[in-house]
Point group: C2
Chain length 331, copies 2
């Protein structure tokens, strides 16, 4: 971890702890990975990848007031830390790679040690679940909290699963159930809260399950994959565009949870499932007839890759129109 000199000193809350101590206290963990030659504490990390593998690198940023509410409470910093790692692990999973190392660039408005303790706990929890070592980073001051995590891993050479490999006639699959996270976010934002089985849905927003094991199991079986961050419809569209193909999408086959079904009407369920982001499930294509469960994760066939560009939606065999409302920044 390194620090950089500022050109204007601003402070929001007093603290007697400097960044070196913060890093030591909250982010340095004994590292048992043989692949980490030098971790946190030098100008950079020195890593030893296994011979002959391809490297896969992903990066994602979560911004206060944009990706999570302003001034979240201390205990909410734990799922934030978890989520900051999980969204990256999801990208690694979509490439079929095994995650190994991560860095953290953390911008804070002020030092709040309780907040940091919760945050780092969530961060290390998500990393430990997949044997990922925190090998470096940067802690800086700023106007609001910005969390950038980068995760690197590896995959056999030439075997990474890209968005561009879908072929006409492939089946389109989705892992798990979709729509929960967007529904959970809606519930959390509602005041007074919406009645129903909400904790499950809200938890699905804050603590997404990165499908790392599934991603690795799909190497050689999936022709293309993408993780669902902006919504199933929009992310499938990106995969199809990258592959130069189109799709028939069977809306009635899209798997949704009992919690979602019991909390929202059918139109809302469909909107969350198709255009709600933050699912972090995998959408992928394969020429194979895959089983209903791979690496312990439910896998559902939801469509077919076709020649004609665009997505044609079917509901109970009939063509229906759907206008995607998936999210794009700056628009």
């Amino acid at each position: 971890m390194s620090q950089r000199r500022p050109c204007a000193v601003r402070r929001s809350r007093p603290s007697n702890v400097d960044e070196f101590e913060l890093i030591q206290k909250y982010f340095v963990r004994p590292d048992e990975s043989a692949s980490v030659i030098t971790g946190i504490g030098d100008d950079g990390a020195v890593l030893r990848p296994p011979m002959g593998k391809d490297l896969v690198t992903v990066v994602d940023t979560l911004v206060e007031g944009v990706h999570f509410p302003y001034a979240i409470k201390d205990f909410e910093a734990e799922p934030l830390g978890y989520r900051a790692v999980a969204v990256n692990l999801s990208d690694i999973a979509a490439m079929g790679a095994e995650p190994r190392w991560m860095t953290l660039a953390l911008t804070l408005a002020a030092v709040d040690e309780s907040w940091l303790s919760f945050f780092s706990h969530g961060l290390h929890k998500a990393a430990a679940e997949h044997g990922v070592a925190l090998v470096g980073g940067d802690v800086t001051r700023g106007d609001s909290v910005v969390v950038t995590v980068q995760v690197s891993g590896h995959v056999d050479p030439g075997r990474a699963i890209l968005r561009s490999g879908a072929r006409i006639g492939d089946t389109i699959y989705v892992s798990g159930e979709v729509g929960d996270a967007a529904a959970g976010l809606r519930l959390q934002q509602n005041d007074p809260p919406h009645p129903g089985p909400h904790c499950y849905l809200i938890d699905r927003y804050w603590s997404p399950t990165a499908r790392v094991g599934l991603g690795c199991a799909l190497v050689g079986r999936a022709s293309a994959a993408i993780d669902i961050s902006d919504g199933l419809y929009g992310d499938l569209d990106k995969l199809l565009t990258a592959s130069g193909v189109g799709a028939d999408l069977y809306l009635d086959k899209i798997p949704t949870s009992i919690a979602l079904k019991s909390s929202f009407d059918q139109e809302q369920q469909r909107s969350f499932a198709l255009s709600g982001g933050d699912d972090y499930e995998l959408c992928f294509t394969s020429s194979e007839q895959l089983p209903g469960e791979i690496a312990g994760v439910q896998v559902t066939a939801i469509g077919k890759v076709s020649k004609r560009p665009g997505i044609i939606c079917y509901d109970d065999g009939k063509v229906v129109s759907y206008v995607d409302g998936g999210y794009r920044h700056f628009q």
Copy 2:
């Protein structure tokens, strides 16, 4: 590059361009590097490192209002982009590694295409100088501009130069001249500006020269190295602490520029040279008697590694006291 759905939509300036177009327009460049199997546009980048090398990874964040002034003008975004890459290349240089790939996590308050055009030009310029490919990233909205760049490269296995290798009796060296950047920053902040040969000094703040060639040439010759970001005195102290040694530092040997000498009195020069940050020169130790120039960069002996912890300063052979004012975040 990927994007994430926000939980609260805020906007500061209208724009008709979304993040996908921004990335295509300003950040995607034809990539001729054989080591980049898949670059920007998928869930992650796929990279092919040379067989049997160690990887070196560094990351640094620049925050608006902290590391550079608020609302910088469009033309100032070019040196900002340059600087965001250069400070990372400097860390890579301090490890003796060859930089190869980088990612960018860019948080913007609003889309200003002219600003982005200048910024990306500076970013690509610094990358191109050292053959570094931009392979991925994330563009998000936020309250202010936050730029996180991560650079990865490689070095022969076990040959990375660490901070911890300095041995008693080693000579302490510094590259180039120190103090200019901090002086340049002071000049830029002064209103009315300080008279004198200022452009050179201000430029040394905005466009630091990463000593990549020197760093590579020091592999096997330097016992320890650090790049000077927080000030020569404080950064040397970190190197010594990591090595479990102390130093005699000859203040009168520390190289400063003619521009610095002609603009500030001796006490100010010394303060900028010892405690001013942002130099991005290398401070390193070696058991060898090194020539005055390595890889085209001036190299000056400024001290000796000693057994007793701490730094003893000498001026013309006499012990003098020096109180370091180098920067630490949050204090």
